[in-house]
């Protein structure tokens, strides 16, 4: 007996314990398989879908490179070429890069953290299906000549209705807005999963770097994505209803779009890069068989990059005529962000230096990443310098830079990750022999394709041209780039062949810890993650805790079976990972899948302006969501369960202990970010066209604003009153009092601006946008409140079982706070400045 003594659960285990655990986590069979929610299946489907979009967008790139191979080529006309580069960029960024790293998080995090699954598994399924269906329809627009053609960043005025009639751009605006919502859903899930479902003992200081990276990634999504959602909403309102947010003649400003887009778009680059860097920080120590050098410094770098990347967005707008002093702030921030990236670089190099590196295929892709990303980072510092940027703006130099950063910073680490984690999810590892060919073709092909573009750009070739004249010095360079692009394609093709040969998905029969890695995802696992949940005392538990894998597999650690007969995971405290309670997890069901499919149908019917078909789809989607929510929040009155080691944990929690509270707070942060962006837009349009703002005499009467504020605040008081009812006996019908008050507040606000038409000026449009968002939030709050009341009448809400009410209450108070801020702005600001 060389096992550590005093493990939480003794042997032998009850004979049917393991069989019951296995059975409850079994994915559904047959047609019902589409309702699967286990993270290992959703994760693989998600990664697969993202990779499919990578291939499709890559094919578009090959078509473009074929067109550009020789001057004056007529292979592709300008109309289709515009659609190709728009779709290539859009798909690579929105349908491949972000979903791919999010998917890796869903696939890896629960096992890496020692959880059975992510805390909202049906939300992952919803996000996946919404993204997959939405993405496919979006791609198919190409076959009907309906694909967007305004570039992946969709700048107005080119993309306003005057210059882009038809529905091509609407596809982009509605499709991308929709897909971003699915990314936010995934981000909320990932944050709560990382902070609340870690194995006992896995304090923040022992958390794998990938989890840190995904945490920063998800927080960045929470704050960055609302900006692009707002931007797409405003541009769609302008296109559909002529609200002139971006029309200079009416007091709008096309630059507002650029601010909102790049406030999302620059953090987006790091949203893609940080998870990839997190993967590198997992793979390098394993390949070198030594812990990561400078763990704390790397975590520091991740956190700092997450913040600094929000101060860079104007460096995409250096050529727009912004004052020099403003540009210099962004230039400084663009330089500053190189510091944390440098810290990570040196940490990886130091790890390689202090260990004994095994140069398997993952290590080759890591080395390729270091080389390519370094060059991309250096050209990044070059274009961060304003005068240089002005020279190369909109040339192929920028195309070269961004591909060095994105392919170097994300695609190479992702391929390293595919090779590294394949044995975790498949019966066989990928072929090392073919892997070297894949790497060789991709690495050489990449540099052959993109390095010459630096020179093509310096020689003056602009981006997004479908052809060029002979004899400008660009001919040979373009031909070389095209040859390189096809070499990359050969590498990817060999990879696909290898995957088809060797990838056989299996959780229980996976190839196992072939790299001798130290983190928990390499424990023997199944659909239930690991048999028992280990107690962790180091960053690389498999290296430092002898016998851990065997003890975990035998069920000697926590929760070795199912305590309630259903799916469960242990909820732990955010900082110290102390076990707090046991979360009962949902089972697969049709509602999330139907909700996702019909939400996609709703958005696309809207794109085709088929409102009569969109409405029933929307109603069914909302019905499915309500049905889904109705089954959540299980009964509170259940006896505590024994998870081993003398720990008896409750099965229900409210307030900050509950996962629902965390998700709601994160949703409020998303909402606040969206609202912050719309208030910024209001102030921005004012700085551009202050003359459009009314003087006090013609401003909406203050009495309306005051009345609306009093009504909104009174509705919050009514919700507080309802809370007292819930504390007493669970009765939340006081909410019914709050509903008419909030409706009245919205109505009075609208009446106050009755003389204003949103089409008449940028000012009027942004005021209406603020009021519309308030009205939307009020509607959602009311639905949540009525839902809670319905549960009370159905006997599903009482003094203890009150999470549904708490969610409604939190969201209500948030909505009122937001409404008050909006009222202060639309009624107060014009009086303040005029």
């Amino acid at each position: 007996m060389n096992r550590p003594v005093g493990l939480p659960n003794p042997l032998p285990r009850p004979p049917d314990e393991y069989a019951r655990l296995k059975a409850i986590w079994q994915p559904p069979r047959g047609l019902r398989f589409v309702t699967v929610i286990n993270n290992n299946y959703i994760g693989v489907l998600y990664v697969g879908a993202a990779f499919l979009f990578f291939i499709l967008a890559g094919i578009l790139a090959l078509l473009m490179r074929t067109q550009l191979a020789v001057p004056n080529n007529d292979f592709i006309g300008p109309e289709l070429y515009n659609q190709l580069f728009t779709m290539h960029g859009t798909m690579m960024m929105f349908l491949f890069a972000v979903p791919a790293v999010e998917a890796m998080g869903i696939l890896l995090l629960p096992n890496m953290l020692g959880a059975r699954d992510l805390p909202f598994p049906r939300l992952s399924a919803y996000a996946f299906w919404a993204y997959f269906i939405g993405g496919l329809v979006f791609f198919c627009s190409l076959f009907f000549g309906l694909a967007p053609k305004g570039g992946w960043f969709m700048y107005p005025p080119l993309t306003t209705e005057a210059y882009s009639p038809g529905i091509n751009e609407d596809f982009w605006l509605l499709g991308i807005g929709f897909i971003e919502i699915s990314a936010i859903a995934g981000a909320i899930e990932i944050i709560v999963g990382i902070l609340r479902t870690r194995a006992p003992g896995m304090t923040l200081a022992r958390m794998p770097v990938f989890a840190w990276a995904m945490l920063v990634f998800a927080v960045m999504i929470i704050f960055a994505f609302p900006a692009v959602i707002l931007a797409t909403l405003l541009l769609e309102l302008e296109r559909a209803f002529h609200w002139p947010f971006f029309t200079a003649a009416k007091g709008g400003d096309p630059l507002l779009w650029q601010h909102l887009f790049w406030f999302f778009g620059h953090p987006e680059v790091y949203i893609i890069f940080l998870p990839a860097a997190g993967m590198v920080s997992m793979i390098v120590p394993t390949m070198a068989q030594t812990p990561l050098a400078g763990y704390r410094l790397v975590v520091l770098a991740l956190i700092a990059t997450g913040f600094l990347s929000f101060g860079l967005w104007v460096h995409h707008m250096f050529a727009t005529g912004i004052p020099k002093v403003s540009r210099s702030y962004f230039q400084a921030a663009s330089m500053a962000v190189a510091i944390p990236s440098g810290i990570q670089f040196f940490a990886w190099i130091a790890t390689i230096a202090k260990g004994r590196m095994h140069f398997g295929t993952p290590a080759l892709f890591i080395l390729g990443f270091l080389f390519i990303f370094l060059l991309g980072g250096l050209t990044g510092v070059m274009v961060a310098v304003v005068p240089f940027d002005l020279q190369v703006h909109d040339t192929y130099f920028v195309v070269a830079h961004l591909h060095y950063v994105l392919i170097g910073g994300m695609v190479f680490p992702l391929f390293a990750a595919f090779y590294y984690w394949m044995p975790y999810t498949s019966r066989h590892a990928l072929s090392e022999r073919l892997g070297r060919w894949v790497f060789g073709f991709m690495f050489v092909g990449f540099n052959v394709a993109f390095f010459p573009m630096h020179i093509t750009g310096l020689a003056g070739m602009p981006r997004r041209v479908y052809t060029y004249q002979a004899g400008l010095g660009w001919d040979a360079l373009n031909m070389v780039s095209t040859i390189g692009a096809f070499m990359i394609a050969v590498g990817v093709l060999i990879f696909l062949i290898d995957v088809a040969r060797r990838f056989r998905m299996s959780a229980e029969g996976n190839a196992g810890n072939v790299w001798n890695a130290g983190t928990l995802e390499w424990l023997p696992n199944g659909n239930y993650s690991s048999r028992s949940i280990p107690a962790v005392s180091s960053r690389e538990p498999l290296w430092d805790q002898p016998g851990l894998a065997k003890d975990v597999e035998e069920g000697r650690y926590y929760l070795p079976g199912t305590a309630t007969g259903g799916r469960e995971t242990i909820m732990t405290s955010a900082v110290d990972a102390r076990p707090q309670w046991v979360l009962r997890m949902p089972m697969p069901g049709w509602a999330p899948v139907i909700a996702a499919w019909l939400t996609a149908v709703f958005f696309f019917m809207l794109t085709f302006k088929l409102v009569l078909l969109a409405i029933p789809a929307g109603i069914i989607a909302i019905g499915a969501l309500l049905h889904w929510a109705w089954g959540l929040d299980p009964p509170a009155h259940a006896p505590p369960v024994d998870i081993g080691g003398g720990l008896r944990l409750p099965l229900y929690a409210t307030g900050p202990l509950s996962q629902a509270w965390w998700a709601m707070v994160l949703l409020m942060l998303v909402s606040a970010s969206l609202y912050g962006c719309v208030l910024f837009s209001y102030l921005y349009l004012w700085t551009v066209s202050p003359g459009m703002w009314p003087d006090p005499d013609s401003s909406p009467a203050l009495a309306f604003g005051m009345t609306a504020a009093v009504l909104a605040a009174a509705s919050s008081a009514a919700v507080a009153y309802a809370n007292r009812g819930v504390q007493r006996n669970g009765n939340c019908t006081g909410l019914l009092l709050a509903v008419p008050l909030l409706v009245a507040a919205s109505a009075v606000n609208l009446a106050g601006h009755g003389a204003l038409s949103p089409q008449e000026s940028g000012y009027a449009a942004i005021v209406y946008a603020i009021m519309s968002i308030d009205a939307f939030f009020a509607t959602v709050s009311i639905v949540l409140a009525l839902f809670a009341v319905a549960r009370w009448f159905a006997g599903r809400l009482d003094r203890e079982r009150r999470v549904t009410f708490d969610n409604a209450r939190l969201f209500w108070h948030y909505t009122v706070a937001q409404t008050l801020a909006g009222l202060l702005m639309v009624f107060g600001f014009p009086r303040l400045v005029n």
Partner: protein, 95 residues
């Protein structure tokens, strides 16, 4: 809540950055370019004091990891604040 302190230093950087960018844009738009150096100096003085305060406070955390992280993030933030202040003071006004 304790762990949220980790990022407090860099939040100060973000506020400093926002103040510099927002107030400079406002001053330039309203024709008060001469105010820019004062804005930069004033905002930087406040931000530097607060970030330094967080750095010092980091010593008193309950967990070694969190205290180290709070301090280091604040130190990096101070560097960032210095970068931004330099940019603001050396650039031509409102051109």
């Amino acid at each position: 809540m304790h762990a949220l302190w980790i990022s407090s230093g860099i939040v100060v950087w973000a506020l400093h950055f926002t103040a510099l960018y927002g107030l400079t844009a406002l001053a330039c738009a309203r024709g008060h370019g001469e105010a820019v150096p004062w804005i930069v100096a004033f905002a930087t003085a406040i931000a530097a004091v607060v970030a330094a305060g967080i750095l010092v406070k980091g010593y008193r955390g309950r967990s070694a990891f969190i205290e180290w992280m709070t301090m280091s993030v604040a130190a990096l933030a101070l560097l960032g604040i210095a970068y931004e202040a330099t940019a603001g003071l050396l650039s031509p006004l409102c051109e």
